[in-house]
Symmetry: C3
Subunit: 137 residues, 3 copies
C-alpha cells in the first residue's frame, strides 16, 4: 500500500467563492501512481468547505446564494463578539471540510456531472490550504 | 491490503425517494472478504445523496418532507434556466454524495438504529449508480 | 498496512451538547503507531453527529442554537408518534455521523482552528459509542 499527499494553496478573491479543484485532485492521483484506493480531500480551515456538484455557472451562483440565505451574515451570534464571521463557521461546520472519493484504474470515480469544489465562506484570503491524500495500491 | 468494488444500479419511482441499501453494502464486504478496513459508499450523481439513519417508515417520510421544506421545488434559481432541478442539486451538494463506515471483523460498524440510505432527489430515474468500495485487510 | 480501532463511550448531560474529542482521536493514532494514513471518526447513533470547527465557547453555543433553529423540537413529524425525537434524527441524518481526516507523520492534519466535536442531539444519554479507526502505514 502507498500513501501520497499533495497540498493546494488557494487565494480567494471574494467573501464567498467556489473554486473548482477537480483537475488538481486527479493530478494528485496520477502523480502518486495509485491504481485503486481512496482519495480524501480535506480543507484545513473552519470557514471553508468541500462539496461535489455540477460545474455549471448558474448553479455555482445558486449554491453561494443558498449559503447566504441559510447562514446570513447579519445573524446575532456569540462568536461575533470575538471575530465577525460566525455565519462562515456555522456553514463550514455543517457543510463539512472533507469528502472521500473512490479511485479505480487510476481515475477518480466521479459521475458525468460531478466536479469537486472548494468553498470559501469568509474570504478574501491568501493561501487556503487543502490536503489531497491518496491511499491505495 | 485489498481493494474491492461493487456497483449498484438503482431505479427510482418518485421525485424524492429513500432506498435502504444496507444489505447490499454488507454483501460487498463479505464478497470481497475484507476483515478490517473502511467501506466507502459513493453516489455518482449530483442530484442524489447518501445518509445514515433509522429505518422507520414515519421517519423516512419525515426526512423527505424536511428536504422539500429546506429545498423547495419552486425556488427561483439560475440553474433552472438550463434544467428545472436546481433544488435537487442544492440538496445533493449540501447533504453530500458519500459516507465512510468502519469495517471490523467482516461487519459494517453500524449502530443498532443505523441503516444506509440512498436518497433520490430528482427522480424518477433509471440506473442510478452507487459505488461501494471496500479497502482493508 | 495496519488497521487499528479505539472506542469512546461518552456520557452526555444535556439534550444538546458538544464534546471536544480531538485529544482522544490523536491518542488513537499514537497508540496504533500509524505514520501516514486515514483516521475515520464514526458515531454509531442516529441522533448524534460529528463535526469539525473552532473550539471557542461562544461559537460552540452558536452551533447548538443554530441546530435548535434549523431542527426545532416542536416540529410535527410522523416519527414523533413512536419516539418524541424526530428533530434529533433529522439533524443527525443531515449533519452526518462521520468524518475522515488525513494522518501525516503520526499527526492528524487538522488546521490551527479545527477541533473534532461529538454532537449530542437527543441527550442526556449514557455510553454514546464513537469508533475511531486508524488505517495506514
Amino acid at each position: 500500500m502507498r500513501v501520497g499527499f499533495k497540498e493546494l494553496f488557494l487565494n480567494t478573491k471574494r467573501r464567498r467563492e467556489i473554486i473548482d479543484i477537480t483537475e488538481e485532485v486527479q493530478k494528485a492521483i496520477t502523480e502518486n501512481d495509485i491504481e485503486n484506493g481512496i482519495c480524501l480531500i480535506y480543507s484545513t480551515h473552519s470557514t471553508t468547505a468541500i462539496i461535489i456538484n455540477e460545474e455549471e455557472s448558474g448553479l455555482m451562483e445558486d449554491i453561494l446564494r443558498k449559503i447566504d440565505e441559510d447562514y446570513p451574515k447579519n445573524g446575532i451570534w456569540l462568536h461575533n463578539r470575538i471575530d465577525d464571521n460566525a455565519d462562515a463557521h456555522l456553514a463550514g461546520a455543517f457543510i463539512g471540510p472533507s469528502i472521500a472519493i473512490p479511485v479505480k484504474d487510476g481515475r477518480l470515480c466521479l459521475g458525468t456531472w460531478q466536479n469537486i469544489f472548494f468553498l470559501e465562506l469568509d474570504g478574501p484570503r491568501i493561501g487556503r490550504r487543502v490536503i489531497i491524500e491518496v491511499l491505495g495500491i
